[in-house]
Amino acid sequence: MPFELRETRLPGVGVKWTATTAHGSRLTVIQHADGTRELYVFERRRDEEPAAVVQLEDDEARQLGAILGGAYERPKIVEELEMAFGELAIEWVPVPDGSPAVGRTLADCAFRARTGITIIAILREPEPVAGAQPTDVIEAGDTLVTVGKLGQYPAFRRLLAQGPFGNGDAGADAP
């Protein structure tokens, strides 16, 4: 469950966010007016002295944020990742076993035209595909990194799992 985040203005310094984790640690992030961040880590919620204070430049902080957000590697236990920005979302969607999309190019599947969802990258071993092209072929075990509106995802998932995709599709018996 997401933790409760408390935001406070620190006049003359910047903004402060404080949160207590499910395991009882306290985290405080200070965003200074000049863009640097400070991360205060308290092992227990009521500790007076922080166990560590980490200072981060703006680009480092954003990189760390992406790592924590799972953008670099999906934690094993998490099936699907989702980052929502208002209506817009970035989702990591695994290609289901037996998906009729396997073996087809992105152009064949026409996800964007049919559901509005754009594939921006494909995560696969050993080498992920960073800027996915229409000619890229979906393989079994792929995870698709997608951008779209939250409401477009149900149709996208249905299409990815069941098709139908174009000519001579064996899975075309789906509704």
Partner: protein, 397 residues
């Protein structure tokens, strides 16, 4: 007396400021006391061993620019939004601080000068904490995550507001009551008009400044700042408040961060020179004269701020130990105390001897409280445990 400052002397001065600033930063001190000390050492008064720089029209001009930039930057931080959003502690915490330390300061002022205008200004100089020292300490000693830090910063915002008014009248008023009241009214009007202008003028100003090429942008902003300082001076107020309000005016514009980036180095340079030049005028021989006053003021104001922290902490729902932390952060006095002394020295209604005495007091008082304040801040947790030994109940605060 040599009426100029050679490039060689300037180089030595600035190098010394850099060196001392580095040393003080290693000890966790803000650079302000270090710059003051450099001025005292290199100045013409006791101790005369290293006397190298004579105060001159040039050093006075450099100091002038320092005041203008210091206050301009303060103004840039000063938006209505910031005051409104700085939290629930501003009103209560700030009022307790003003009532307690304002009264104590006034007491010190009366003891020093008798019932007079300079007693009032001394009261303000003793009342106002140093935002620069406090914020540096909070960052260095890793206190930003503490809840009571919110209280400290809120009180500092309140003090900034209160002192802005005093700054407006310090350089000119005094004498009888009626003209002083008129000046206070003028200062209030000036602040009010500027705040209103910052709301209505910000957009057009923004559009103009945004269109300007780089060099012109710098010059136009500079002209605006110095121009507002001059307008305030012409209105019989101090230039300090003009510069402050120029900052307020630009605080709501989108070019604010641009300005901050561009002028940051200027503020640091001229700010350092301002504190240094102020140090030049301090005569340690005056210690005989102001020594008892200094001891009284230091004792009273250290105690006063600690009690403020406890009382404001109690009202704000903090533990007593947190109150000690908050109080300790407020002990150091700094930039405003010095600026007030400088402005008073320019007041034609104040006798030179009085101004001299005031300046010596202010300089030494800042040196003493800044050092004590930083030590207290560093040790405030231990102090809190010492004063309030029982473990706070786990369900409290």
């Amino acid at each position: 007396m040599v009426e100029s400052l050679t490039l060689g002397e300037l180089a030595v001065t600035v190098a010394l400021l850099a060196g001392l600033g580095l040393v003080s930063s290693r000890f966790g001190l803000s650079a302000i006391p270090a710059y003051l000390l450099a001025g005292i050492l290199l100045g013409p008064h006791d101790p005369t061993l290293f006397s190298l720089i004579e105060p001159s029209e040039l050093t006075a001009f450099l100091a002038d620019l320092g005041v203008v930039f210091l206050l301009f930057f303060l103004g840039l931080e000063f938006t209505l939004e910031r005051v409104l959003r700085s939290g629930r502690h501003v009103g209560a915490g700030g009022s307790i601080d003003l009532a307690l330390n304002g009264a104590l300061g006034l007491l010190v002022g009366l003891a020093a000068f008798g019932p007079s205008f300079e007693a009032l200004v001394l009261g303000a100089a003793v009342y106002v904490s140093s935002s620069a020292v406090a914020i540096k300490g909070l960052i260095d000693f890793r206190r930003l995550a503490d809840d009571e830090t919110d209280l400290v910063l809120a009180i500092l915002v309140f003090e900034d507001l209160a002192i802005a008014l005093v700054l407006g009248v310090t350089a000119t008023s005094g004498g009888s009551l009626a003209p002083t009241l008129l000046l206070v009214a003028k200062a209030l009007a000036f602040i009010g008009i500027s705040l209103a202008a910052s709301r209505w003028l910000a957009r057009p100003l923004d559009r103009v400044l945004d269109l300007l090429p780089r060099e012109t942008f710098l010059l136009v902003t500079f002209a605006l700042v110095v121009g507002m300082a001059a307008v305030a001076e012409a209105a019989g107020l101090s230039e300090a408040i003009g510069a402050l309000m120029a900052g307020v005016l630009l605080a709501e514009t989108s070019v604010r961060t641009d300005i901050e980036e561009r002028f940051f180095s200027l503020r640091d340079l001229f700010g350092a020179l301002f504190f240094f030049v102020f140090g030049l005028h301090i005569d340690l021989a005056a210690l005989d004269d102001v020594g008892w006053l200094l001891a009284l003021a230091v004792a009273v104001s250290v105690g006063g701020k600690l009690v403020t922290g406890l009382a404001a902490g109690r009202v704000g729902g903090f533990t007593r130990r947190q109150g000690v932390n908050a109080g300790a952060a407020l002990v150091a006095r700094g930039e405003f105390t010095i600026i007030l002394a400088e402005l008073l020295a320019r007041n034609p209604g104040i006798a030179d001897a009085t101004a001299q005495r005031f300046a010596a007091f202010a300089g030494l008082y800042v040196l003493a409280t800044a050092v004590i304040g930083v030590v207290l801040m560093k040790e405030s947790r231990r102090l809190g445990r010492l004063l309030f030994p029982q473990r706070p109940r786990l369900d409290a605060g």
